[in-house]
């Protein structure tokens, strides 16, 4: 049905294009001098039909679902919902919906079948209304646009206004996305903090996101203190940086200063491949190769290593970050003005001394910016830790132990069937908000450093 609506709209707009174009061509053939060429008259009709009506359709599609749900629920006979809480209401609604699709389990009450009929009926009405409105509105606009075809009508200006508006809209999508992220995280986090005290979340030392299935269940209060989770994230990030920073820096210095051009021609693509490997592949690499290797190495030294040690996840994440850090360092080193390098060499410094004592200090801000961005990446990296790190939050900084991270908890809390009204799922959003805030601060800081530094040498 939606496809039919869109196709109808498209056909009518094309009709408008053809009508306007023909009218304009005819005017010109009669010897009138037009302000705009006929094509622009056609485009004017096409765009002024297509754009507003398409927006209308999208809005209609977005709002029809929730509105019909609400009408269905409010139309239920009084008392049938009784004492049900939000979750119970959702279940009733889901049952009504599945009945309306013809999937009936057991023997539903008569009022549910009635509601299902009404639900299906409202959907049908809504679809037909939409089609009707689309036809009327688009034909109306086409007629209006046709009536405006005249010698001195500025169709090109009209078209350019509409395209400018469209482009402006496109560039606001980024703002809407950011707003959407903030709204979603904030909204769900506030609901979380209504159930779990905010102090417990920020200062609690236990993370056990269970919820009681029954009222009288023992030991199932659940604990939502994010400190151990965040500590785990830090442990893995530190491990990753311990590997990635030296390797990335040294390889960038080598490629920039010492490598023969043939090696450089090979090394750059290889680093790009490393950067392009999807993180789920790194995660599988961690459980297939790295974790067993670390374990057996630990066993040969007599050290007990947990099967999903932070060392495995961290070092694989480090491998992932090598190209990231190396390319930032490379950029920063290349951006140092040639005069500094020439000056140092002319004073008799060796190449190593030039790099370490002159170029490197000059490039430090850019490199630090890159490392900060790498940290924010490591904190937000998901698949490697979901596959290779542990699930249980423990207050430890020993990288041989199993630790969990913010992203692991978000994914495990939300995988599978989720309902939006228990602290367990809402906790994921609270964690997500912390993740967003922490990475945002680091990113803003890092981007500012990088930009300032670039300006200094430009």
């Amino acid at each position: 049905m939606t496809t039919i609506v869109f196709v109808t709209l498209f056909c009518i707009s094309v009709l408008g294009y053809v009508l306007n174009r023909q009218a304009a061509t005819k005017l010109r053939a009669d010897g009138t001098r037009l302000h705009s060429v006929p094509g622009y008259h056609g485009l004017y009709s096409l765009l002024s039909t297509l754009v507003p009506v398409a927006v209308l359709i999208v809005l209609w599609l977005i709002f029809q679902g929730p509105l019909i749900d609400r009408f269905t629920m409010s139309g239920l006979p009084a008392g049938s919902l009784g004492e049900l809480d939000a979750g119970g209401r959702q279940l009733v609604l889901a049952e009504i919906k599945s009945i309306s699709r013809g999937r009936i389990f057991g023997d539903p009450e008569a009022w549910k079948v009635d509601a299902a009929d009404r639900y299906a009926w409202m959907h049908a009405i809504s679809r037909w209304m939409l089609l009707g409105i689309v036809i009327v509105a688009s034909l109306g606009i086409v007629g209006f646009a046709r009536s405006r075809v005249a010698a001195n009508f500025r169709a090109r200006h009209g078209v350019e206004h509409i395209t400018s508006g469209l482009m402006l809209f496109c560039s606001t999508i980024a703002i809407f996305t950011t707003l959407g992220i903030i709204a979603a995280l904030l909204f769900e986090s506030i609901r979380f903090f209504e159930r779990v005290p905010i102090t417990e979340f920020f200062f609690g030392l236990n993370w056990e996101p269970q919820i009681p299935l029954r009222e009288d269940q023992i030991a199932a209060e659940g604990a939502f203190g994010w400190i151990p989770v965040f500590l785990g994230t830090l442990v893995i990030t530190v491990v990753a940086l311990f590997l990635a920073v030296p390797v990335g820096l040294l390889s960038a210095i080598y490629l920039n200063e010492f490598a023969p051009s043939r090696l450089r021609a090979v090394a750059k693509p290889v680093l790009e491949i490393l950067a392009g490997v999807p993180t789920v592949v790194y995660g599988f690499f961690a459980i297939l190769v790295v974790a067993p290797a670390i374990r057996s190495f630990g066993a040969s030294l007599g050290i007990p290593v947990s099967p999903n040690t932070a060392l495995a996840a961290g070092s694989v994440m480090g491998i992932m970050l090598i190209p990231f850090i190396s390319s930032f360092t490379d950029d920063a080193l290349s951006a140092v003005p040639k005069s500094l390098r020439d000056g140092a060499l002319a004073l008799g410094a060796t190449r190593a001394e030039t790099v370490l004592n002159v170029l490197f200090p000059a490039a430090i801000p850019g490199i630090v910016g890159g490392i900060l961005l790498a940290i924010s990446r490591a904190i937000g990296e998901t698949m490697i830790v979901v596959m290779a790190a542990g699930l249980i939050a423990s207050l430890t900084i020993n990288p041989l132990d199993s630790v969990t991270t913010v992203t692991v908890q978000i994914v495990t809390l939300l995988i599978g069937d989720t309902s939006f009204d228990n602290p367990k799922t809402l906790a994921a959003f609270a964690l997500g908000m912390m993740l967003f805030i922490v990475t945002l601060i680091i990113n803003v800081f890092a981007l500012r450093i990088v930009r300032k530094y670039r300006e200094a040498y430009d």
């Binding site: 592949v281 008799g348 961005l373 939300l414 945002l440």
Partner: protein
């Protein structure tokens, strides 16, 4: 550069500075050597890791590109499969009987043995037999020849992944089961053809039947939706920011937003999709459409940045010439600058889509990791995507899924390499130096 120092050196050896320099030269050169060796070591380490990564994937994944099959003469016993009870019937018993008839030392009345025998062909074999019989009920009472996959343990045995020397109690196949298999090999009933099922089968609980069809189609729809949304929106935003936007607070704000979005963790986009698209708008869970919309939000910054770079690369002379002959600003941009920037834009778009193809975390949060045994028929059906399928298989305990996961990763990497190769080809073919 040591030469330079040496060349300036051979003057009169009087100054104490020259002495000091000469004395320290060896140490300084050694320091340079150390730095060089360390740098070479760092590069080699990166090379080595990439090599190990690829090698481990290939060595564990190549086995999954073949699949052991067994060819059986099956007598469709009318007593087990009566016409009137179709599509029900004892198809598994029929298969067991046909195996028992060819193997030596099998007592058809011993139920334990027969059950073990039933585990030799894949669990899907009986359904394949059923489908054939339902399609053509005349087959009942006849003997037909079937080639079906064997179950995972026997597949592993045939590929040499089960060590016959391990003690029997630690082995997944007992001695008598291996003996059966060896008999079948001697009868040339066992074959190992190319595993087309890896591409053409949907997902399954049984490794020997599991394939990537659903994931490939799901990924296709998700990428398609992602492209349809992010390409026009990204280009529109980039043109506006690069060509039309006035220098004011709003433009700066948009720019800062785009740069930040490019660095927001992908899992946060998953949270956004879960709360907004699924929670508030009520779009279906696990649908590639929702996945595509989420990926589009993540890809858009990449496309915007690439498009702006491509627009910037078009020389001002083109614009000035067009403006000079009386084109409007819009006509200049859409008629001249944009077509010239198109190769660069396409290159950036393909790279962005390749990133989106490998993205996993946001798809997990919107439920594209469900176990679905049929391929989706449209963007609103439940589906998995390639990376989430890899995640599901990597989590599965059966041995056979290890090599399937590696094979799926190789397929994914194959797609990524192809996409990047296309973008490099486009860049080389159409790039112009002005």
């Amino acid at each position: 550069m040591a030469d330079v120092t040496a060349a300036t050196d051979p003057g009169p050896k009087t100054g104490s500075t020259a002495d000091a320099v000469r004395a320290s030269l060896a140490r300084r050169n050694r320091k340079q050597k150390i730095l060089q060796v360390l740098g070479l070591g760092a590069i080699s380490f990166a090379f080595l890791m990439l090599f190990i990564l690829i090698a481990s994937l290939v060595s564990s994944g190549y086995q999954a590109f073949t699949q052991t099959h067994i060819t059986l003469e099956v007598f469709i016993d009318p007593e087990e499969v009566p016409l009137e009870r179709l599509p029900r019937g004892g198809f598994d018993d029929v298969l067991e009987a046909s195996l028992a008839s060819v193997l030596k030392d099998v007592d058809p009345d011993d139920r334990a043995t027969m059950r073990a025998l039933g585990g030799l062909p894949s669990n899907g074999a009986q359904f394949r037999l059923r489908d054939r019989v339902v399609e053509d009920p005349d087959l009942i009472g006849q003997t037909i020849t079937m080639t079906v996959p064997v179950s995972d343990p026997y597949d592993q045995l045939n590929k040499g992944l089960i060590d016959r020397r391990t003690p029997e109690e630690n082995r997944r196949l007992k001695d008598f089961e291996i003996a059966w298999f060896d008999q079948l090999v001697a009868m040339e009933a066992i074959s190992k053809p190319l595993n087309t099922g890896l591409i053409s089968n949907p997902d399954s609980r049984f490794p020997e039947l599991a394939g990537l069809k659903g994931a490939l189609i799901g990924s296709f729809w998700a990428l398609f939706v992602c492209f349809v949304i992010s390409f026009p929106l990204g280009i529109g935003a980039a043109i506006y920011l690069e060509e039309f936007a006035p220098k004011n607070k709003f433009s700066d704000f948009v720019e800062v937003n785009i740069n930040n979005l490019a660095a927001v963790p992908s899992v946060v986009f998953g949270l956004l999709a879960l709360a907004v698209f699924i929670g508030w708008f009520g779009l279906p869970r696990s649908a590639p459409f929702v996945g595509g919309m989420t990926l589009a939000l993540m890809t858009m910054p990449t496309i915007i940045i690439a498009t702006r770079a491509a627009l910037k690369a078009v020389p001002p002379s083109i614009r000035e010439a067009a403006l000079g002959v009386g084109a409007s600003k819009h006509q200049v941009v859409f008629g001249h600058v944009l077509p010239l920037a198109m190769p660069g834009i396409l290159t950036g778009t393909i790279i962005g889509l390749a990133q989106a193809l490998g993205e996993t975390a946001p798809l997990l949060l919107i439920g594209m990791n469900a176990f679905i045994t049929s391929a989706p028929s449209g963007p609103f059906d439940s589906a998995t995507a390639l990376p989430t399928q890899i995640f599901i298989w990597a989590d599965s305990p059966e041995r056979g899924f290890v090599s399937r996961t590696s094979a799926a990763i190789l397929v994914l990497l194959g797609f990524l390499i192809t996409m990047n190769a296309v973008s490099i080809y486009l860049r080389n073919k159409f790039e112009r130096n002005w």
